[in-house]
């Protein structure tokens, strides 16, 4: 396991700081990383970036952006910049949890299903395809409703929705890799199957898993925002971009643009950041394969 992780890390690092990586892919990865890391920094350093508490009145209500309140204040007089920086924590926690969970379910299932084949593989594939074909947001909504609104439950709901993405990709790759000579050799040498799967096949999948990881992180950001926009994630007054955007919706007609513009911009930025990393990495892989 440690070996796989260290290999993965070298792999990621060699993609990020490479000599052989060419133009466009690298530029995309850099741009995406810059955005994501800036938001991660915001989340970690939140108390240093603002003197205000995101859940306490900081001044008059509905103040437009100023030096005192760079993102303005909302109907309760909360400082929106404070809510933005602390909100980064909420979204990052949910996204990280959900992606790790769906990877932990989807990758092993895909590995075993693809390697062994047979009836269980067919049944699993059908189940995963059905989930995959369905509007993920609607499925996440019904799961979040059944589990009850909370940060952790939102993460579970999002995780379930993205399991098929990992499953399909991993299974598809295993189907072709398992026919290769080195797998046959490993089998002939009597190496146990689980070792073949995790030590011989899995490392080949890591670049693709990285791509799916960042692309599904982008989707997870949007799904988390959608769930909290619909009131199915963290409960108020916890700062969260999707929820703040929903609150801002009530003041559209009053023209309080800062209550809408900033939370939505942050959601879009973070999603774009992850998507850029994913696209850059996949461009990189495509180039290597050529």
């Amino acid at each position: 396991m440690v070996e796989i992780l260290s290999k993965a890390l070298t792999r990621i690092l060699s993609t990020i700081i490479p000599s052989r990586v060419s133009g466009r892919g690298r530029a995309l990865v850099y741009a995406g990383l810059a955005i994501v890391l800036a938001i991660v920094f915001m989340a970690i350093a939140a108390p240093l970036l603002t003197p205000y508490d995101p859940t306490r009145r900081a001044g008059r209500s509905f103040q437009p952006p100023s030096w005192e309140h760079p993102f303005g204040t909302n109907n309760l007089g909360y400082d929106m910049w404070a809510r933005t920086v602390y909100g980064a924590r909420t979204v990052l926690i949910v996204v990280f949890l959900s992606i790790v969970l769906s990877m932990a379910m989807g990758v092993p299932l895909g590995l075993f299903s693809g390697y062994y084949g047979g009836r269980i593989d067919r049944a699993l594939s059908m189940l995963m395809d059905a989930i995959y074909a369905f509007p993920s947001l609607v499925l996440a909504i019904s799961l979040a409703v059944a589990l009850g609104p909370s940060l952790f439950n939102a993460a579970i709901a999002i995780a379930v929705v993205y399991v098929p993405t990992y499953f399909r990709m991993v299974r598809g790759q295993v189907l072709s890799i398992k026919e290769e000579l080195f797998v046959e050799v490993a089998r002939a040498l009597g190496i146990p199957t689980s070792r073949i799967i995790f030590r011989h096949i899995l490392p080949h999948l890591i670049p693709t898993i990285m791509v799916v990881f960042s692309l599904s992180a982008a989707d997870a950001v949007l799904t988390e925002a959608a769930l909290s926009y619909l009131g199915l994630s963290v409960q108020p007054p916890t700062p969260d971009w999707g929820y703040d955007l929903y609150k801002g919706k009530g003041f559209v007609l009053s023209g309080y643009w800062w209550l809408i513009f900033f939370p939505g911009l942050m959601i879009t930025l973070l999603a774009t950041g992850f998507a850029l990393i994913g696209e850059g990495l996949s461009e990189q892989i495509r180039r290597e394969r050529l």
Binding site: A225, Y229, A275
Partner: protein
């Protein structure tokens, strides 16, 4: 794709999720107020929740197959089927408008990018295609409302039609209805209410089409048959037409696959614009924890996804003369 198993799997999944997971739906709806246990039993009995799960499963399936989604748990006796039928046209109208906008934007930008390949314009359009995809729908919708409804006052901010225009509903599709009844005022109103939601949904979903049309048109223009046309001295615009037609085939397949995204996006678009469709219905029911209604929406969506993939297969055959069923 196989419609029947897919819908059945989703039916089963949502049944399991909503019934077997922790939490009593009846208590969730009524709150944990002090309700006498006999009364709780009575409510459970009326909803059929006291039967074994397996019986509930097949009974409900039987009813659904006969178009009966049961009654709402919150407003007792309200038929869910009637609610859904009332809301369905709004969602379909929005989805079709969104699809048209996304195809128009995607195909145009993809076409321009492919014909101006490797120029700054091409790069710009490709970036546009990837960025629009990660826009958060409610954000885009609310910004449109701010700009076009609040500041410029060009278009209405939300809703589906002005209630004063006195539209007589025939099909439930307001734009169609206003044409049938010849009510020009209603037509204008319905159309102006449609523009912002359709633009929001369409813009967000257009990115993949840009990329798809560009890639396929580039591939088609490099293929041997295009070379052969050139050799025979066929006019350039005619060649482009041929290549373009072939490049559109994958777009149709993709449009079908993307229908699920379109429906998911419609939920967010509807809530943002207070559009009275299935999406807002779902969100309303979610806040009441009205389980039978939520279940019904999921099944209807699953059915939609299945039917659309069938339609896509048929259109595919029309576009590609090599395929015959």
């Amino acid at each position: 794709m196989l419609i029947v198993p897919t819908v059945l799997i989703l039916y089963t999944l949502v049944f399991i999720v909503l019934r077997i997971l922790p939490g009593d739906p009846v208590l969730a709806v009524l709150g944990t107020k002090n309700i006498p246990p006999e009364q709780l039993e009575q409510i459970r009995h009326n909803l059929g929740l006291d039967k074994p799960y397996i019986v509930q499963y097949f009974e409900y399936l039987w009813n659904v197959l006969h178009g009966d989604f049961g009654t709402s748990m919150v407003i007792s006796g309200r038929s869910i089927t009637a609610d859904l039928l009332e809301r369905l046209p709004a969602t379909v109208e929005l989805a079709i408008a969104g699809l048209i906008v996304s195809l128009a934007i995607g195909i145009t930008t993809g076409f321009i990018a492919a014909t101006k390949r490797d120029t700054k314009l091409d790069l710009g359009l490709r970036v546009f295609g990837s960025v629009t995809y990660t826009l958060f729908i409610p954000w885009l919708g609310l910004m449109f409302q701010l700009i076009f409804a609040v500041w410029l006052r060009w278009l209405p901010a939300s809703g589906r039609i002005d209630p004063d225009v006195g539209l007589e509903t025939v099909t439930g599709f307001y734009i169609l209805d206003s044409i049938i009844t010849g009510n020009m005022e209603a037509f204008r109103s319905a159309l102006s209410h449609m523009i912002l939601p359709a633009l929001t949904l369409g813009l967000v979903l257009s990115g993949p089409y840009t990329r798809l049309v560009r890639t396929n048109l580039v591939k088609a223009l490099e293929s041997n048959y295009v070379l052969a046309y050139h050799a025979r001295g066929v006019r350039g615009s005619r060649i482009l037409l041929h290549a373009f037609r072939n490049a559109l085939i994958p777009v149709v397949t993709y449009a079908g696959l993307q229908f699920a995204l379109l429906l998911g996006g419609a939920v967010l678009t509807e809530t943002t614009f207070d559009w009275p469709g299935i999406g807002t219905y779902l969100v309303e029911k979610v806040s009441y924890r009205d389980y039978p209604a939520i279940q019904a929406v999921v099944i209807v969506f699953a059915f939609f996804v299945g039917v659309i993939s069938l339609i896509v297969d048929l259109i595919y055959a029309l576009l590609d003369p090599r395929i015959r069923y």
